[in-house]
Symmetry: C2
Subunit: 181 residues, 2 copies
C-alpha cells in the first residue's frame, strides 16, 4: 500500500502520511510502499493498544450503560473489571457479569482488581472528587464525560468527551458556511 492510498483513506496527503510515520521510524520500502499488515502491527505496538487494559466504569447511568454494552470496547481490549455508582438502589445489582459497587469501597476494589483506566460517566459536581480519588489510587488515565475541566497532576492523562460541545461545534460550522454563501 502506497502513502498515496493511505492518504486517500485517511483524508490527508501522501506527504503528511510519510512524515507522520517517519517520526516513529522507517516502515516502508522504496518503490514498494508499506506492507499493510506489518504497518498495522507496528502502529498498534507504538500506540500501546497491542495489549488489554483494565477499566473501571464510574456512573451506572444511561451513558455508563451505553458504554458498558458497546461491543467495540471489549473487542479492542478494554475490559471493564468494575462498575461504581453512588445510588443505593443500584448498588448490588448486576450488569452482565459485573455487580455494581459502592463508591465507599472504591479504593479497595481499584487496587484488588488492578484497574488502570477510569471512565467517568457521572454528573459534573461529582467528577472532580472521584477523579482525585482515582489519581490517589494510582490510576494511569481518565476518560471524562463530565463537562468540567478536571484538576489532576500532569502525569495522569485525561481525555475529555463533551457531547454538547460537539453539537455546538457543528452549529458554529453551519453558521460559518451559511455566511460564506
Amino acid at each position: 500500500m502506497s502513502s498515496e492510498e493511505l492518504a486517500a483513506w485517511g483524508q490527508t496527503t501522501a506527504a503528511q502520511v510519510r512524515k507522520d510515520l517517519s517520526h516513529f521510524g522507517s516502515f516502508g520500502k522504496r518503490g514498494l510502499g508499506y506492507q499493510a499488515g506489518e504497518l498495522c502491527e507496528s502502529l498498534r505496538t507504538l500506540l500501546g493498544i497491542d495489549r488489554s487494559w483494565k477499566v473501571a466504569l464510574v456512573g451506572a447511568g444511561r451513558i455508563g450503560l451505553a458504554l458498558y454494552e458497546y461491543p467495540a470496547f471489549r473487542s479492542r481490549g478494554y475490559d471493564c473489571v468494575a462498575i461504581f455508582d453512588s445510588d443505593p438502589e443500584k448498588i448490588g445489582t448486576a450488569w452482565g457479569d459485573q455487580s455494581i459497587c459502592s463508591l465507599d469501597v472504591f479504593e479497595k476494589v481499584m487496587e484488588e482488581r488492578g484497574v488502570e483506566l477510569v471512565i467517568l460517566a457521572i454528573p459534573a459536581d461529582a467528577a472532580q472528587e472521584v477523579a482525585s480519588r482515582a489519581v490517589e489510587a494510582g490510576v494511569n488515565g481518565i476518560l471524562n464525560f463530565a463537562p468540567i475541566r478536571l484538576n489532576v497532576p500532569a502525569e495522569v492523562p485525561v481525555e475529555d468527551v463533551n457531547l454538547v460541545m460537539e453539537l455546538e461545534a457543528l452549529s458554529f460550522q453551519i453558521k460559518q458556511r451559511k455566511q460564506d454563501v
Copy 2:
C-alpha cells in the same frame, strides 16, 4: 473579568485569550477587562448557539437512548424532534414524547418537522447510507458516532465521536509517559 482570569479558567495564557477574542472583534475595555455577561452573549451569537436547533436521532439503541435522555442537550437548545430506527420491534414505541419512526418515512418526516441536525447512533455499516439520505434531504450538519469516515459533500459539516479512539489516545499517552520516566 480580566484576560488573566479567563486564561486561568481555561487552562491557557492571557495573551492567547486576547488574541483569540480579537479574531472576532473587540470585546474588552482597556483598564477594565471583559464584562462576563456581555462576552458570553456575544460568543453565543458568534458560535451560532444563541438559538435552538431541531435534531433528529437515528438509532434507538443504548447510545441513542443515552443521548436522548441527556438533560444538557435540551437545556442547550437542541430539540429532538424525531427518532428513527430500523428494528420493527422498536418502531411505533415511544420514548418520552417521541414515537420511534421507521427509516422508510425518513425523508418525509425530516421535511415535515424541519430537521436541521442529524445524530447518527447506528452501526458503521448503516451509517453511510443514512448520511447520504440525510444530505439529500437537506440536513445542515451531522454528528456521527459510527466508526467510519462519512463521505459527504464539503458543504455539510460532520463531527465524529469515536469512543474507542478516545480510549486508544489515552493508552498512547500513558505509554509515552511511562517511557519518559
